[in-house]
């Protein structure tokens, strides 16, 4: 491989990352902090793309710089945007400064022990990686090694990560959801089927969103299905699908989205994705193999012989995508409307 201009690309980005972090922490207004944190996330995405880790970069761009910023803005919308002044005088601040500096010094002193950048003899590169690199195409016929490692070689990990996303959605739901029968707020009536537009809402934003949402969804389906060959896969595609629904919610009204996707349907679909993943694993057990050993699904799945692992990966990615998509939209509706599910950001 020719010598790539890594340092010219990475060093300005690293400086920018530190600058962004310092700026974000020194702004007093919480909205400004949230917005600058979105840019900070995207700088991290660029650094990972520079290292060649495109799947990670894609996930960071989609989640960190996109959806996560919208979540923080929704939270600030329902709480306040000021930070309360910190109690404690000068000795307290001095103590905190000393503790943080000592922790930083301890962490930084471990840096000379790391293997060099890109060294082939480091433990990560020398033990398991050559097996993955040389055996992926032979085992699963999937050129994207990251997708194979994620969904096939380390399938249990991904199952439990999907369950964690599911638990996050349920946790926010159970903390924030307000039971309508017991609350004494003025109720805006049942959710209607026709859209309610705020008269001050902008036609331009609505029309542009109406144009972009189908393309986003099509692109997200492409990302899920093409995850075998290009960076992508279930998580990234699911996040972009969820982001398209969030776009509908913020450019039209939240009630418009709730008229399309009722609350019960959203919660059901979140669970359904994890269920699909688990059922694929159980299907392998029924066919006589271990749990999540896709090779045994050969007689059941269409296609030529021993493409079962590739198709198994695709089924599992679809399950992950479904869960992530509805988790994103469930969390957004809960955060934006403060649990009332009627009006919001």
């Amino acid at each position: 491989m020719p010598s790539l201009p890594i340092w010219q690309f990475d060093v300005p980005l690293l400086i920018l990352v530190v600058l962004f972090a310092v700026v974000a922490l020194s702004i007093r207004n919480l909205m400004g902090t949230a917005i600058v944190f979105g840019a900070y996330s995207f700088m991290m995405c660029l650094i990972w793309a520079g290292m060649g880790a495109v799947d990670v970069a894609f996930t960071e761009a989609a989640v960190g710089a996109g959806v996560s910023t919208v979540f923080i803005v929704s939270t600030i919308y329902n709480t306040s945007a000021t930070m309360p002044p910190r109690p404690g005088g000068l000795p307290f601040k001095l103590f905190i400064g000393v503790v943080v500096t000592l922790t930083g010094v301890f962490l930084l002193s471990a840096i000379p022990d790391f293997p060099k950048w890109g060294e082939p003899n480091s433990p990560a590169n020398a033990t398991v990686a050559p097996y993955y690199i040389s055996n992926t195409i032979a085992d699963a016929h999937v050129p994207n090694i990251v997708t194979t490692v994620l969904a096939d070689y380390r399938g249990f990990d991904t199952l439990l990560e999907t369950t964690v996303v599911f638990i996050a959605c349920i946790a926010i739901y159970s903390i924030l959801r307000v039971d309508e029968a017991r609350s004494k707020t003025e109720d805006s009536g049942p959710v209607d089927a026709e859209p309610h537009y705020d008269p001050s809402d902008s036609l331009i934003v609505r029309q542009a969103s109406r144009f972009m949402v189908p393309f986003m969804q099509l692109f997200a389906l492409y990302v899920i299905a093409h995850g075998h060959y290009s960076p992508g896969g279930g998580f990234q595609g699911g996040v972009i699908l969820g982001a398209s629904l969030i776009l509908v919610a913020i450019s039209f009204d939240l009630k418009f989205l709730l008229a399309q996707w009722r609350e019960k349907q959203i919660m059901l679909m979140v669970a359904w994705g994890v269920f699909l993943y688990a059922v694929v694993g159980l299907g392998c057990v029924f066919m006589g193999g271990n749990y999540l050993d896709y090779g045994f699904l050969n007689p059941v799945l269409p296609g030529e012989q021993d493409m079962a692992r590739s198709h198994g990966i695709l089924l599992v990615e679809i399950g992950v995508g479904i869960t992530v998509m509805f988790s994103m939209i469930g969390i957004h509706i809960n955060l934006a409307s403060n649990g009332h599910f009627d009006r919001g950001l």
Partner: protein, 104 residues
């Protein structure tokens, strides 16, 4: 083709430089949005057109890549001015005051 790509990319960079100077020097929020919305979108579109010319000479799947870059141009062309409009509307509703020339 490479010369065309070079011309397009350098033109885009000049536009972007103008945008940045405008963003810093304009006295008012609304005029800064003019600079951001128009100059930023135009410079990005021109630079990406230059990128399409650059990659059209290398590789065999380059027409698919060119199509994808055309899609990016499409979304930026529609999305970025709309975002500028939304931000200006938000600034108006939130009460940012336009700059008035001082009576000298």
């Amino acid at each position: 083709m490479d010369i065309l790509a070079g011309i397009l990319i350098s033109t885009g960079l000049i536009f972007f430089l103008g945008t940045t100077i405008g963003l810093l020097r304009f006295p008012d929020f609304y005029s800064r949005m003019h600079a951001a919305g128009k100059g930023d979108t135009l410079s990005t579109v021109v630079i990406l057109l230059g990128c399409i010319c650059l990659i059209s000479t290398q590789g065999d799947l380059s027409w698919i890549l060119g199509l994808k870059i055309l899609l990016i141009i499409n979304f930026i062309f529609i999305g970025s001015p709309t975002a500028t409009h939304a931000m200006m509307d938000a600034g108006n509703k939130a009460g940012a005051k336009p700059w008035k020339k001082d009576a000298d």
